[in-house]
Each structure stands twice: as C-alpha cells, then as structure tokens.
Symmetry: C2
Subunit: 706 residues, 2 copies
C-alpha cells in the first residue's frame, strides 16, 4: 500500500468532529477551537444535541453534512464509537482518528470493542488512527488535530523539520508542549498513535521518511508491531531515524505489558535490529530530541572522521577529549601546517594541540578574532572532519560571526557543533540563530558529543550503503540441502541430539568437528585411528542434556585401552537408550558461541558472543536479524567488547573473519528457511588456527504439524 | 592547620586591589566595581599612576594605605607580581589572591616566577590563592572578588547552598554565569583556584565542609595534589561532596599535562579512591551541578530503599523503571494494603502496580486529586523510601500542592524527586518553588534518576560510617615480620623472583601455595612425595620473566620419572644462573588477580580483579587506597562485574570473603610499611574450595638507597 494513501490524515480537505461540544471544558470543544486556529479546510461539528458550535453549523450525523469528508475525528464514549464508525463508512469518510480512550488498554471488554472497530474499518476500506491517542500536530502547517487544551498553543507552534511518532498519548502531548514553549526546537508532524489498531508506526514511518517537510524522524515506542517491515522501511530511508524503546529492564517490560498490551521483545535483539537498520537508539526523551535535531541538520554528505575541539577553557577541552574517546571517535591530530598557522597568533609559550585552548590567543588578538582564525585554519586540515566549538553567550565579548562560520562549514562540508554556556537570554538567542544556520547547539557537553557521534555514525548508512551491502539471500543449493536434511530428521519436538543437530549445520556449510556414530568398540577404535588421537567419546540420548554431569562425555582418550574402557562405561550409562559419538579432540585457541532464536517482533535473529562464563557475566553478546549482509556479520564481530580475542590476542592467530561471517549468515538462513527450527546453539564454536568449527551444537525443533 | 585560617579570603575586613584601574575595559577596574556592588568592608585601590579610582582614594603602594589589609587581590603583569608580594608581606597582608596569568601554565620562565612567589609567601607566612585564577564569588553574601566583567552580575547573584571549587578559571566563570542566569540553581562560595601554588582544593574543601553556608561541595579538578589528605577530609565530612575529574582518556590526560601541568593519575585509581571516601563522581559539568543540588537538599537521615514512581504516562513510567534498574535501585513492590487503597480511586479495569500510571485515576477524580491521594497512600507503604513524581507544569490543570507534598515528605523522611515537563515559564516557576521546599526537580528523566541514586548512595556514608568502618591499621607483629623478611631480601632493584616475592606475602599472612627450593633431583623427589602428586617445577632466574615462553615451567608432573626429566631440563635451561622451585599443583575453581601499585596522587593502592584475559578485556578491576577497612575490601569484591564468580558460580563453592578481604588489606599494609616495594602482582590468586591462595607472585623493589 503506498504511503501516499495516508494524505487524508495529514492534509484532509475537510474534517468532521464527531462528539463536538460547545462546553469549553470538554475535549470536543478543544478539537473545534484547535482546528479553527490554523486549519483552512471545511470543519463540520457533529453532535445531535446542538445546531451550532463555535460559530459553525453543527450536524446531527455525518450523513447530514452533504459534502465529502476526508477525515473524521471521533471523541465520544468508547461504546458509541462503533456506531460512529458505521456512519463514517456510510458517509464515505476516508480516514477516522479515534481519540477516545476505553479500548484495549482497559481489558477484555475494551479489547472486544477495539476489534469491532477494526472489523468495521476493514470491511469498508476505511483507515483508522488510534484509538486512545492525542492525534496529530503539524508545526509547519500550524495544524492541531487534537482534543488537547487550546491554551497550550497560545504562543504558537514552532515549525521545525523533525517529525515524531509517539505511542504514549500523554507523553506526546507533554513532550510537544515542553519543546514548543522552549523555543530552541521546532517540529514538523507529531503523531500520537495510541493503540494502533490499523495505522501503525511502520506505515507512518514510511509516510514520514518521504515527507518533504520532514528531515528526521524520532519515535518513542513501547512495542514494534511488525519488526521486519519496520526495519525494511528504515533501511531504505534517506532520512535519519531515532528510536527510543521503552520497556527494557525486566520490571520495565512488566509495566509495558499492563500498559498498552504491547510486546517488548528482548532488549538485545532490538538493539541489534536498530543498529542493523542504521537507526540511532536514544536513551531518554529529551536526548532523543537532542539527537534528532542534530541529525535533521546534518548534511547528507558528511564523512565520519577526526574531530577538532576549539575551547575557551583547557579543562572543558580535556573533558571533550574524554567524551569523544569514550564514543570511539578520533580527536584529530592536527597537521604540522595547521599547528604552524595556529602558532602565528598564539603566545610563544603555548604548545598548540587539539583540543585547542583558545584563551591564550584570545588574550593576544581578542576572543572573536581567535575563534575566527582558528576555525579558518582548522577547516583546511584534512585530518579534521568535524568541529566542536565551545562558546559563551553574553559577558565575554565573544561574538562569533555565526553566518561566516555556517558558510565555511557548508563550503568545506565539515559540520560545526556547539557546546554553549552563557547568560540565559543571550544563550537562547545564540542557540536559535546558530540552529537556524544548521549548526546544532547543546548546553551539556556530553550531549553535544553524543549528537556529534550520532551524526557521524549516520554518515555511514543510508540507501547507498544498503545497496552496497545487501542481505545475503539463501543460495538455491543450500536451500535444497537443508530441506533434504530436515526431511530425514527425526520428528522430534524439542532438542535434537548433537549429531543430528550438526547434520543440519553441515547442510548449510557450517564447518563441524570430525565425528561419527560408532556401533561398537571395534568401530570406535578404528575410527579413532582414522581421526588421530586424542579423541572424545560422547553418549547421546534423548532428553539427557546435562551430559557432563551424567558422565556422558569422555575426554582425553589417547589410546586403545582408554577408548575401550570409555565405550563400555558410556554404553552402561546410556542404559540401552542412546548411541555413542566419537569426535576428534580439538584444543581451541578461543571459544565462541553462535546461535539463532526467533524473536516475537523481528523473527529469526542470529546471536554471537565469546564462550565460557564471560559472555554471560558481561552480557557481551550481539544480535542481528536474518538475513544478514556480509557487513552485518562483520559488524557483529566488531561490536562485542571481547573483540580483541578475535584479532589474535596473546600471540594466537587472528580469526578468519570471512569464515566466521559465513557461519553467522548461514544460521540466519536456517531461521528463514526452516520454520520448524525454533532455536540453535553452537556452543562452543572452536577457533583453531583462525578457523571456526562447530564443536558442540543443539538444534531445537517444534512439532512438525504446527 | 585549622581551616579557619582561611577566613581572611572569605570574610576579609579590608581588601587592597593591586593593579586597580580607572579604565572600564580593564580587569583592574572590574575588580573595584565588583567589590563596590556588594562588599561592605574597606576597599583600597593600589596603583602608582592614579590618585582616585571609582570614587575611592588610590594608593601608590600597600605601605601607603596606613590601615590593616586582610586580603590583597593582585592583577598586574606576571613579572611585577613578586614585587607586589614583597610589598604585601611588608604591609602585613594576611592573604593574597593572584588573579594574573603568566605563571606555570606558560612554561619554564613562568614556573620559575611562580616558585619565586611561593618562596616569598612561605618566608613571610602569608597565604597565596592562585595565580592564574578568577578568584572568589559568594552568592549568599553577594561578594565578587574577581576581575570578571561586572555586566555579568547585573541581574544579581542567586544565593544557594552548593559551594564550588573549580581548577579551570574560565570554566568557573562560564559555569557560574550560566547557573546564575538560569535561576533554577543558586550557589554559595565559588572558588576558582588556578595554579594552586599554596592554597589548594584540599584546604578549601576542609574549609567548605565546615562552612555554615554550604550544604554540599562540588569540585572540578584536573589533578588532585595531595590525594590522601583530600580523601581524609572527604571521609570525615558530613556534607556531600561531588567531584568531576578531567583528563581521563589517554588523549585527555595528554591535554591535562599541557594545560595546568597537573598530574592526572590512573582513572581507575581515582574512581576507587572517590568511592572509598564516599564522594559522588560526576561525569559532566551540568550533571555535577544537577547532582549537587539534590545532595544539598537531601535530608541527612534518608534511607536507601525502594522507589515508587507516580506518573501521568505509562510510557514514562516504564522508562523510569528501566533507569532505576540500570542504577541497581529497587522499583518498590507495593504492599497489598497500598494496592487496595489505590484501587479505591482507580477504574476497575486498571491493574495497580509500581510504576503507578495515574492517568486513568486522573480521568475519574481529577489530576491534582489523583496525585494527592496516591502520594498519601504510597508514603504510608514501608516498601517505599523515595518517590519519583512525574509532573507537568501548565496546560493540564495539574496543580500539585507543593507545600503539602513537601510537608508529608519531611514528616515521613521520604524524599520526593520530580521529573518535569511543561510550558517554559510555568515549569521554571514550578522548579523554583519545589526546590525552595527541598524537592529537587529535573527536566530530563534519566538525570532525575541519577540524582536520586546519588542521594540514596550518600545515605550510606558519612562520618558515622567512617567510625564504624575504620581502615585496618598494620598490626605490630605483622609490621615486624614484614621488616624482618625485607631485611633479609636480596638488594634487588626490580622484580624479586617468585620464591622471594612469596616470602614477603607470607610475612603479612597472605596464604601461599606449598612450595620449596630444591637443590637436586633427589630433594625434588622427596619434596614431591611430601606434597603429593602432581607437582610443578619452575626455574627461577633473575630477569627471566617470560618463564612459560622460556620453557621454565613444568606442569603435570605425576611421577618420579617425569620429575627427574623436568629437573634435568630446567637445570639445563637455567644455564647455571638460577634455582629450581617445586610447588604442589593446584587446580583453581576461579583465578583472581590482586596487586598493589603506588599512585602518583594517592600513594599505595590495592588492585583486585578476575584472572585470565577477561579482566583486561572488560577492564573489570577495582582499586582502593591503602589502608583498607574491612568494608572497603568487601565493597571492592562487590564492585566488579564478574562478582557472581565469587558467589559460587556454576556449582563452585562461594569464596571466603573474609579471607580474601585479609589478602587485600595485607597488600595495602605492605604498601604503607615498605616504601621500597613499588609494585606487587599476585597473578593468579587461586581459589580452591572457596579459599584464596597466592599461586604466582611478583614483588617489585626499587634501589634500597633511594
């Protein structure tokens, strides 16, 4: 469905308000007044009790309007909504925004009512927005389609180019008003989506990333309904996207359940998914807006790279370097030429280095001149791609010539970020002016660095990147090999044994350790001679998963005698119920864990981490959603903190990154191709001389008939 | 030295300004004008060129004033400062504040000049503040002892009860003006200390923590001059202390060197030291002030414990729970009684749980009433010790009755923190009013939780805690045992061998593995029989530290033949230069690293972490400054992320925490008692059946004659 079909929500030619009221204390009155303040199309109050509201003729029903209605806003008691919807459908209304509450968020009865609404709209091809939402505000077109108190917009809307999608109603309102009245950030379209019975964040995102009035989209979501579709939209977007996801901690998720009946999913899967789709993850409400406004200003061509810090305080320079380093960003090393040119207006005792403390120069040539010349010089340095300027508004005669700065920034393609201290009014004015020129300003140093980092990271994504790094599709021969193995796999509902599990892995070309099922001790011995000593014997039996504790793993078998004894013992312990596996014994340089799970929101997801207790202790694992691109797989390896282990820690051979990427990609293929496979654990993937080999593995199946 | 001796800086009865000027563009003029605006003592401009400045008689030299001068503020070119100091000394001036720059921060010549100043003041018993600083501002007494532009104080100073010590001059000014003009936070004494040639952060901290006008102290420092003394002051303080330490990343530290010639020290040592002294560590400038103002408001008797979140938005409630959990804080589980009382005014479909979404109740009984009743109920719940209230100022008719809230909060001893959204002016007014009633307000949710966390943590410190947990002094018998061993230790300048190292550890009762030096293979064999098999043989030789690589460690010796062969080989590899050590071979359940280093700022510091590559990879180590209290040692174990390993991970026996605490404490004793020992590594400390044992160790000595 083309996103343009949502135009009747954003640009309706006529609006009916069902539940309009002349009572100034009611939302049904606020709706009319809010429309009157900026909306230029036709407004039709609907309420059988009145003939006129706020100077407009009031209609008893939609059917009486006698003119086409693009959008109906419904604000009546929940139990009256289905009837209103039927009226709308009969009247040819294109979209309905239900702002009333009392639906799925209130339990069983409300859920049924909501389902009735969904059915009415589906049957009539009429789109629904909400219910239980605050509607829509458009800061650029000066539109308020909401029951919120008109007093809030008295001072006017501040137009901007960040659009918002907010699941929580009150929050979207609170947010919006807070932002608007501070004047240092404007908005384009603010969408409060509530229970999203029909129109959801995915469809709205698709609409907004191609909206001419939107330069960046920020979303606060408690659950992502259609995870994979959402990621697809994000991946194709040229506009930066920021997501704040509520409900992360166990307690948080619990609250999410009882709040909007939304599913929270595993925090780590969500994080991986967002990274994969090039979405910036926000941590807090205000921070989400702080990052969004920088991203909206960022020139699309910005290259990530070295940062130069120009400051009036050595101390703040030091702290900036700390923050940049913590974000993994480069504090640019200035070229010799740059240093020479800077030294020309610095006192001779001052060693010039980045961060550049301009105070000593300011005392010689004046503050404004020191800044002007330093920016000019630093902009010429090829090692510098971004500038972080510390500024002070009011009191220090530091008029920075913002127009000239913006112009050189644009000309050189090197963005400027400001950290600003100063007197309240002067600082506000400075911020507004700088931001109108495309240079984001922050009052908190760490926030300035976070925003700078977000913009630099965004520079490495976008549709171009998506084209260059397509997800690896499942090769035909892999698909058929996998299906063949699955066809001959026992119809288990639960974990397959190690040998059967590895057959599935082998079918998608994941390297596995040399192994065989042996029927008797003679066969065990001959196989051991073929593999070479030492070997391992393992007893496999359905349901016996704690094999070490059950004595079903026999390591360090170096000779005939040891093998015979071990085989005997295993047969004994298996009590006739299983079989014996022999493996070449491998001493890994490093042990990894790879796996696949099915996430409720995103479907098959691939997991990667280091083996042993530490991945668990330090929660150092990464997820990506299948299918993975080669870049996704490599990025996954780079994203764990134990990554130095992969690069040849303590004289070991560095891992073959391509081979490991193939393992990760192939795990995703199984998830995509084999719905019966619910979970895979390869624990460990042994790395020997840089090559990954599945040493032990469990594939979990669900009932074939499901 | 009693801190009261600094009164002549903070409350001088008379002030001379050396370098006073009638030129309104000069700092020497600003100094006079700033004094005139609020200082009620005598002001004496000093400058041989003028007879009158700003209506005051001007003196050519201090000697001409003819009245006692408590404080002289010097603002003349650096090379003229020594002469001015001599004049001050001759005139009986008690304290001099040098605000001029051009000293140690400018290289060799400036350093010499600064040293001259130090000598003059030391010889004359006259105290020096600065040089290269912005002086002092007192928001409560309305005093500005600074050359900063008088325009900055035009709107007046906002009095508050947080005092500041700031090393960086420009920063202290920027800060102050930013804070003042925003009106949501006031200050008491703001001290810009510059190069601190005499008066330093330690002495000022001591002064401020007993200052009646100061409820909390915040410090921005690039280096801590007298680390141990600083910690002692902090430990004894009843006032909360917040420190922001600049110069952490390698690049940051580099900048610190060239900025104030200050030493940065090891970030991790600093962190440990701050924790140990109960100091809150800040991350950023604004955040430091945000935490300080909460700490200044916090009632001293506050108990840490469960947090109740009251919100107008389920989404914000979820995120609050996330933030609290991430800070390791409890989201309180409401008692049954509390739930019943809440349900009385909630709609029946609403399951009441913490975080408490008040919106559904607000729709029934009104917003203000819902908040009022919910606070009343929650305050009675013994599971709740702190309240986090989400508020909205303006627009929603949510007048919260702040006086009543503050009163119930004080009565119950349960602090209230606010996260506030809202319209700009209304929000400002709300914040001022709430804070004047002792309830801190934040505009960013995560910041509100950070502040709440800081206040709760502070509740567990203070002088009472210090008395209950004194550092463990070195027992007399340990001291003599240690000195005896050191007396017989070879006069090495560098690492001692493993055997000599462990003799030192044993002398302070650190358990070590059973081991002996063996002269020949016969002795090796008889010792092995005594220890029990398997054993380890190690070749010890001066300077051969990579023993594994040199083949000097022989593990897994199970029988006579293996011992004889191994002994032969070691003798061969040692080439007559060393000796052979035999050890009982131990299989540790867990391996730890413990150590001691000498920090430039804090002296002997004890290190603790898990063994193997992971402590290094995840930087999961903790430091504390010697001497350690038992609580310090236990807290150190709890502070590493790998702490579950100590509690009996995967069916191992939990570690004997007391025994491990003794090891850590004893390492500190060596640092305190033996200045020759520069470094100790016990790597690993093996844990076997819960008991720690030093398996391998290196003690590094420096030249005895040093």
């Amino acid at each position: 469905m083309s996103s343009r079909t949502l135009d009747f929500f954003f640009e309706p030619r006529s609006i009916a308000v069902i539940g309009a009221s002349p009572n100034a204390l009611k939302g049904g009155n606020a709706l009319i007044k809010n429309l009157q303040r900026g909306y230029s199309g036709s407004i039709y109050p609907v309420n059988p009790k009145y003939v006129e509201i706020e100077g407009l003729p009031c209609f008893p029903k939609i059917a009486h309007i006698g003119a086409p209605v693009d959008l109906a806003i419904v604000f009546v008691s929940a139990h009256l909504v289905p009837e209103a919807l039927r009226d709308c459908a009969a009247g040819g209304v294109k979209g309905v925004m239900i702002q009333s509450g009392g639906f799925a968020e209130t339990g069983k009865k409300g859920r049924d009512l909501q389902e009735t609404c969904r059915q009415i709209s589906a049957e009539n091809g009429m789109r629904l927005w909400g219910p239980n939402c605050m509607g829509l505000v458009d800061g650029r077109r000066n539109l308020v389609f909401s029951f919120l108190n008109p007093a809030m917009w008295e001072k006017g809307l501040t137009p901007g180019d960040v659009s918002l999608i907010v699941q929580s109603g009150m929050l979207s309102a609170g947010f919006l008003i807070d932002l608007m009245s501070h004047g240092t950030m404007g908005v384009s379209k603010v969408c409060s989506i509530g229970n999203k019975v029909d129109v959801d964040e995915c469809e709205l995102l698709e609409y907004l990333v191609s909206d001419m009035d939107t330069a960046a989209v920020a979303l606060y979501l408690e659950g992502i309904s259609k995870g994979r579709a959402f990621l697809d939209v994000a991946r194709r977007s040229t506009r930066p996207i920021v997501v704040l996801k509520g409900g992360k901690s166990p307690r948080g998720a619990q609250a999410a359940m009882s709040h909007t009946a939304s599913l929270s999913g595993d925090d780590r899967v969500v994080r991986g998914a967002l990274i994969q789709a090039g979405i910036v993850e926000a941590k807090d409400f205000k921070q989400m807006m702080d990052l969004s406004r920088a991203l909206a200003m960022a020139s699309e061509g910005m290259r990530p790279g070295g940062v130069a810090v120009l400051t009036f305080s050595g101390g703040a320079g030091i702290l900036s370097a700390d923050f940049l380093t913590n974000h993994g960003m480069d504090v640019a090393i200035l070229s010799g030429e740059t240093c020479r040119r800077l030294e020309a207006f610095f006192p001779p005792w001052m060693p010039v280095a980045n961060p550049i403390d301009l105070w000593p120069a300011a005392e010689l040539v004046g503050g404004a001149e020191a800044y002007r010349r330093a920016v000019e010089v630093v902009m010429d340095d090829d090692n510098v791609n971004v500038l972080l300027l510390h500024a002070f508004a009011g009191g220090f005669r530091l008029d920075l010539g913002l127009e000239a700065l913006a112009s050189v920034s644009k000309h050189k393609g090197k963005p400027i970020f400001f950290w600003l201290l100063g007197m309240h009014d002067e600082a506000m004015a400075f911020q507004r002016r700088a931001q109108s020129l495309g240079m984001p300003v922050y009052r908190e140093l760490s926030r300035a660095v976070e925003a700078l980092h977000a913009v630099c990271c965004h520079g490495t994504r976008g549709p171009e990147m998506a084209v260059q790094n397509p997800p690896e599709p499942v090769p035909v021969e892999i698909r058929s090999a996998l299906q063949e193995v699955l066809g001959s796999t026992p119809p288990v509902d639960g974990p397959l044994d190690e040998f059967e599990s590895k057959k599935i892995l082998s079918s998608v070309n994941i390297p596995t350790v040399q192994e065989a099922i042996v029927a008797d001790s003679t066969q065990a011995l001959s196989t051991a001679q073929r593999f070479g000593f030492p070997v391992v014997l393992k007893g496999l039996a359905q349901g016996k998963i704690h094999r070490t504790e059950l004595g079903l793993i026999k390591l360090d078998l170096f000779n005939r005698k040891q093998i015979l004894l071990a085989f005997e013992e295993l047969i004994d312990r298996l009590e006739g119920a299983g079989r014996v596996l022999i493996q070449k014994q491998i001493k890994p340089d490093v042990e990894l864990i790879c796996g696949m799970i099915r996430d409720r929101q995103f479907g098959p997801a691939v997991m990667f981490g280091v083996g042993g207790v530490f991945a668990e202790l330090y929660e150092d694992i990464a997820f990506r959603i299948a299918p993975l691109s080669r870049r996704d797989a490599l990025h996954m390896m780079d994203s764990i903190r134990a990554k130095p282990l992969l690069a040849g820690f303590r004289e070991k051979m560095p891992i073959d990154r391509d081979k490991l990427a193939q393992v990760l990609t192939a795990l995703g293929w199984i998830g995509l191709e084999a719905p019966r496979v619910t979970e895979i654990d390869i624990n460990p993937v042994a790395v020997v001389n840089g090559k990954p080999v599945a040493l032990d593995a469990t594939v979990v199946l669900r009932q074939p008939n499901e």
